[in-house]
C-alpha cells in the first residue's frame, strides 16, 4: 500500500527539485558593471577619435644654440616666464676670458692711436714750420720734402691705428654676443612644462629626443584629434565637437576648431604603448577649449566626438543610384 503513494510522491518531489534546479541554475550570470561609465557621443552621427591635450603654442622643445655645460637653471617646472626671460645659463668662463683679451687688445689699439696721433702732430708741427718759411733759401728743398713725407706717413699710421681700434671693438662685440648666446631665453611668454637639464650637465645643441626644457602657453589648450583616414571625408570643419575626460564622463567640454593640419600623417599610437606603431594614416584636427572647465593636464588623452553627416552605406549607394537613375 505504501508503494501506491511513495513512488508518485518521490516522483513529484523529483520533478519539483528538477524544476527548482532549472530555475535556479539558469539565472543569468551577473554582469560586471563598468568601473566608470564610458563616454558616449551626444550626436546622432559622429566621428570618434582619440585626442591628446597640448598647449596652444604647441609644446616648444627649448634647445641651446651652443653646446656646453649648464651653469645655472633659473626656472623650475610650472614657472610662468615672460618672453625673453632667461631660462638657463651655460658655462661662460672661457668666453669671458676671451672677452678680457679682446678688451685688452682694444685698449692697446686705443693706446697705439694716441702714439700715432702724437707722432702725427709732431710731424705736422715740423712740416708746418718748414712750410711757414717763405724764403726758399732758408730751407733746403730736400729738407722740405722729407718733412712733408714724414707727415704723410704718420697720418697713414694714425688711420691704421684707428682701424685697429675698430677691429678690436668688433671683436669684443662678437665675444659679447657669444656670451649672450650662453644664456637661453624664453622665446614666448608661457609656462615651463618640463625641465630635463640640471646644472653641471652637458647641454647639446641640435635635435634631441629628450628636450632640454619644454615650454608651452597654457592659457589656451588645444586637443589634437586623430581622425582615421577612412573617416576623413566625413569630417566637416564647421561641425560641433565634444571632448570627454577619460575616467569620468561627467567632465566634458565643447570644442571649437582651431585649425586642421592639412597633411595626413602616419598615426602614432596614442593609446599608451611605448613602442609606437604605424598602422594607418590620420588627419589631425586641433580644437580649442577653455581650460577652466576641466581639470586637465597637457599630454592627457581625451575621447573626442565630432558631429558628422549620417552615413549608412546602402543609403549612400541608393543616393548614388538615384542620381544615376534618369540616365539609365
Amino acid at each position: 500500500m505504501q508503494i501506491k503513494y511513495t513512488l508518485p510522491i518521490l516522483a513529484i518531489v523529483g520533478f519539483l527539485f528538477a524544476a527548482y534546479t532549472v530555475i535556479n541554475s539558469n539565472q543569468p550570470v551577473p554582469v560586471a558593471k563598468a568601473v566608470t561609465e564610458p563616454a558616449s557621443a551626444p550626436f546622432k552621427a559622429f566621428i570618434a577619435g582619440a585626442g591628446i591635450v597640448e598647449a596652444q603654442s604647441q609644446n616648444i622643445d627649448i634647445g641651446t644654440p651652443l653646446p656646453g655645460i649648464v651653469k645655472t637653471v633659473v626656472v623650475k617646472v610650472g614657472d610662468q616666464v615672460k618672453a625673453g626671460a632667461p631660462l638657463f645659463y651655460l658655462d661662460d668662463r672661457d668666453t669671458r676670458a676671451i672677452l678680457a683679451i679682446k678688451l685688452a687688445d682694444l685698449a692697446k689699439a686705443k693706446a697705439d692711436v694716441n702714439v700715432a696721433k702724437a707722432t702725427f702732430s709732431d710731424a705736422k708741427s715740423l712740416s708746418d714750420l718748414a712750410e711757414a718759411v717763405t724764403d726758399r733759401r732758408a730751407i733746403s728743398t730736400e729738407e722740405l720734402l722729407k718733412r712733408r713725407n714724414v707727415l704723410q706717413i704718420t697720418k697713414a699710421r694714425l688711420e691704421s691705428a684707428l682701424a685697429l681700434v675698430q677691429q678690436a671693438e668688433a671683436s669684443v662685440a662678437d665675444t659679447e654676443t657669444t656670451l649672450s648666446r650662453l644664456i637661453v631665453r624664453a622665446p614666448i611668454a608661457g609656462e615651463v612644462l618640463q625641465v630635463n637639464i640640471r646644472p653641471g650637465e652637458f647641454a647639446q645643441a641640435g635635435f634631441l629626443n629628450t628636450p632640454l626644457l619644454v615650454l608651452g602657453n597654457l592659457d589656451q589648450l588645444h586637443v589634437r584629434v586623430d581622425i582615421d583616414e577612412n573617416d576623413a571625408w566625413r569630417f566637416d570643419k564647421n561641425s560641433k565637437a565634444v571632448a570627454f575626460l577619460r575616467g569620468n564622463r561627467s567632465f566634458k567640454v565643447d570644442l571649437s576648431l582651431a585649425y586642421v593640419e592639412p597633411y595626413v600623417v602616419p598615426k602614432k599610437s596614442l593609446t599608451g604603448d611605448s613602442n609606437e606603431r604605424v598602422d594607418t594614416r590620420v588627419l589631425q584636427a586641433l580644437y580649442r577649449f577653455d581650460r577652466k572647465q576641466l581639470p586637465i593636464y597637457v599630454g592627457q588623452q581625451m575621447d573626442v566626438f565630432i558631429e558628422a553627416q549620417d552615413y549608412t552605406p546602402d543609403q549612400d549607394l541608393e543616393n548614388h543610384l538615384n542620381a544615376k537613375g534618369p540616365s539609365s
Partner: protein, 386 residues
Amino acid sequence: MNHIALKMLMGDKGKYLGIVMGLTFASLIMTQQPAIFLGIMSRTYSFISDVGLPDIWVMDPKVQFVDDIKPLQDTELYRVRGISGVEWAMPMYKGLLKARLFDGRFQTCNVVGLDDATLIGGPPVMLEGKIDDLRRSDSVIVDIDGARDKLGKPSPIPGGKPIPLKIGDSLELNDRRAIVVGIAKVTRTFQSQPVIYTTYSRAKSYAPRERKLLSFVLVKAKKGQDLAELTRRIRETTGLAAYTQEEFKTLSFEYFIHNTGIPINFGTSVLLGFIVGAAIAGQTFYNFTLGNLMQFGVLKAMGTSNWTLLRMILLQAVLVGSIGYGLGVGLTALFGFAMRHTILAFKFPWQLLLFSGAGVSLICVFAAVISIVKVIRLEPAIVFKG
C-alpha cells in the same frame, strides 16, 4: 474503471517497480547526458556571457569562434565608435600567453585586456579585491579555478593539493612582472585555462610584438537602437564582422557542433539511453499487459469496450511514465547538485525538461500502443480456455 486500472498496475509490485525503474533509467539518461552535453557546449560561449555588458561584438570577419583570435588595427576601435547608434565601443584583448609561475613552471593562460579607463568586460564576480585594483601598476586579476589549481604553488607534500595563488603573489607574463590584485569567479571555459584579467595597454605589453593586437571591439548600442540594424551598419561601414551577443554565442556553439566529435558522442549516448530505456520500459510494460491479458479478456467478456480498455492502458502508461520521468529528472538534478563544485559541466535548461519529457512520453506511447493493439485484438472467448 480508472481505479481498476490503477489497482491492476500497482497490484504486482515487482512488475510495477520494473516498469517505473526502466522509465526512470531512460529519463535519467535522456536528461543527464544532454545536461552534460549542454554544460560542455555552453562553455564554448561562457566567456561571451560573462562579459555580458556589450550588445555587439565586432571582430575580424574570419573569426570562427570566441577563442579564434584574428586581431584588428587599433584604429578600427575609433571607426566603430564613429558609427551612429553606438553608445560606446571599447577595445578588448584576448589571447593565450605563457605565464611563468613562481616555481619556474610554464602555464598557458587566457589573458584578457580590458579598456584602461572603464575596465568594461571584467569578471562578473570578484571574490577578493576589486576590479578597480587593475589600475595599479603591473596588476592582474586571476580566476579562482586557475588560482587554486593550475596557477597554484606546488604543495609541500608530494601529490598534495597545490597552494592557491593569493593577492600579492606575482607571476611572469612574457618576461614582465604581474602582481595578483584580485581573485575572480568566472564561468569555466571550454579549454578550462586559467583566465588572467588586466588592462588593455598592459595586455599589449605582455603580448608578443605584433602589428595588430585588438581582438574585439565591444559595442553597446544606444537605447532603442535595433541591434540587427546596427550590426548591419557596422559590417557595411567597417567591413568587419559584427555579431550580437546571441549571434556570437551561436557562432561559437555551432563551430564546436560542426567541428568536434562532442555532439556525436553525446548524441549516441542519449540515443542509447533512449533505446535501452524504451526497450526496458516497453518490454516490461508489454509483459505486464500480456500477463494481465486474461484479466483484460474477462473485462472484455463482461462488456468493457475497447475504448475503455484503451483508456485504462493509457492511464497506466501515463502514470508509470510520469513517475519514471519525475524520478529521472529528480535524479539528474540531484546529480547536478552533487557535482556543482566539480569541474564537471552541467547545464539544465527548461527545454531539457521538455526534451526528456517528450522522450519518456514517446517510450510510454510506444509501450502503450503495442499493449493496446494486443488487447484490442484479444478475443474475449479466451476466457473459457482454462
